[in-house]
Assembly symmetry: C2
Homo-oligomer: 263 residues x 2
Amino acid sequence: MVAQAFWESFQTMTVTMKQGRVGVPCLACPLRLKPAFKDKTDDEVRFIQAMKFDHRALPAGSDIIHPGQEDAELYTLFSGWAFRYQSLPDGRRQILNFLLPGDLVGLQASLLSAAQHGIEALTDVELCVFPRRRVWDLFVRMPSLSYEIAWLGSREESLIDENLTSVGQRNAGERIAALVISLYRRADALGLVSERSFLFPLSQQQLADALGLSLVHTSKTWSRLRRSGLFSISAGRLTLLNPRLTARMASAFEREFEPRPLI
Amino acid sequence: MVAQAFWESFQTMTVTMKQGRVGVPCLACPLRLKPAFKDKTDDEVRFIQAMKFDHRALPAGSDIIHPGQEDAELYTLFSGWAFRYQSLPDGRRQILNFLLPGDLVGLQASLLSAAQHGIEALTDVELCVFPRRRVWDLFVRMPSLSYEIAWLGSREESLIDENLTSVGQRNAGERIAALVISLYRRADALGLVSERSFLFPLSQQQLADALGLSLVHTSKTWSRLRRSGLFSISAGRLTLLNPRLTARMASAFEREFEPRPLI
DNA sequence: CGTCGAATTGATATCCATCAAAGCGAGTGG
DNA sequence: CCACTCGCTTTGATGGATATCAATTCGACG
C-alpha cells in the first residue's frame, strides 16, 4: 500500500548531513512509527539523534563486528538482516540468533571488553552507529533509555534461550518449524509479512549452522517439510501455508509480542 | 584456611534484622571481598543495602522463579547453585545455564513482563532479594549500578552463547568437557577450587538436560571420560586431572575472566 | 533388611553425518 | 546465443553417533 511504498523509498533515501554524517533524522525515523515500537518522548529522540554518529550501509556478507574485536560500536539495524555467530577453532560455526530491523546490534560487544562472537550482514544492511564511548554517558543522562537497553538485552537473551532449547531438545523437523515460525512472527510484528509470505534470505548452509544440523540433512528435512505442505519458497520469499500447524509442529507456546523500545 | 573457615561460618550465619528483614549486611558481604568482584563505592553499597528487601534460604529443588511468573523479583545468589531452564509442552527440558554465587538471578524475568523460563535451586541456596518495583528507581538514581546490571546481563548472554555453540556443534564428549571446564573456571574465580577439585552437585539427568543428550548416553560418555583420566568424582566433588587436556578437548579458547560487578 | 532414586550396562533402533555425484541457476566471456 | 564456471541445492548410499528399551547395580536411608 501507500505506507509500504513510502517505507521502501525511504529505505533507499539516505540524507547526507553536515560534518560528514549521513543519516536519517531520528525524529522522522520510519521504523519508529511502526506499532512494533514504543513511543518515545521528544527529549529521548533528540538525545538519540545527538548520539547517532553515522548511518552506514554495508553489503551482504560484510563483517559488522568481528570475533574478538575490542572497540565495537553500538548499532541499531535500520534495514536488512544480520546474524550473530560463534566459531570453533576447527571451523565449525554456530549461528546464535538473527537480527531484524530495529534490533540492537553489538550491545554485548560494546559492554564487555571484547566481543565473544561475530556479527555478519545477511543481506545488504543499513546501520545507525552509536559510539561505544558514549554509552556510559547515556546511562548517566538518560535512565529511561538505559532501562530500555537493558530490556532489549534481556529480550535478545530470551530469543537465544529459545534457540538453545530448540537445538538441545527438538529434532530436525521441529527445529526448522520453530525457526520459521519465530522469524515469521518477528517479521510480522515489523509489518514485513503480506499474504502470509515474507522475505527469507537464508542459505541452507546458514540454516544448518543456526540449527546445529549438517547441510545435507538440513536440505532433506527442509524439502520434506515443503513437500508436506507446511510452507513454500519462491523468489526468495517464504509463504506459510498452515501457520497453526507449523506452530504446533514446533510445539511453540503462543508468545505475545508487546511493543518494544527502539533505541 | 582461615578465610575458608570464616566464609563457611558466615554462609550459615544469617543475621536477623529489624522489620522482619533477615540478612547479611552488604557492607560486610563476604562475597564482595573476593577478587572476582569489582570494588564499589560506599554510596553504591549503601544503595544496594537499602534496596535489599530480604535474605532468603531455600532448599535444593525449590522453584526460585516459575515459568510464566509475572511478578518475579530480582535476586543475587548469595550461596549455592541454581539453574535456568525452559520446558516444552511434552516434558522435554533444556537447562539454559547454571548460576553460581554472585550471579544475578532473574534479571530477564524482572525486566520482561513474564518469565520465559524457570529458575530452580540446584543445591540449598541463599538469595538476596531486591524488589522488582525498585529496579526502575535504581536506573534513575544509580547509573553506575544500572550500567553494571546491563553488563551482567551481557555476560550471562555470552555464557548462553557458549552453551548454544556447544550443544549445536560439539559431540557428546566435547560438550561434557566444555561444561566441566566452564564450571571449573567459574568456581575457580570464586575461590571454590582447591587442589583442582570443586563441589559438583549435578545429577546425570541435569547434565543430560543441559547438554541436550539422553540420560543413558550422558552416563556412558561421562564414565568414558572418567576412565580415560580426564577427571574423577568422589564425595560429590569433581577433580580435574588434566585441565589443559580437558580444555583442548573442549576446543576452548583461553578466555580471561576480568573482575565483574556484584550488585 | 527393604526400598527408592540414581547410575550403570547391554541390545537394538533411529536419526543424523559424511561421502560422492549430479542438478540447477546466474553470471561471464567467447 | 552458447559454453563454461561457480556457488548453491538436491539426491542416493553408507556409516556412526545418539536415542530408546530393558534390566541390573549401587548407595542412601529408614
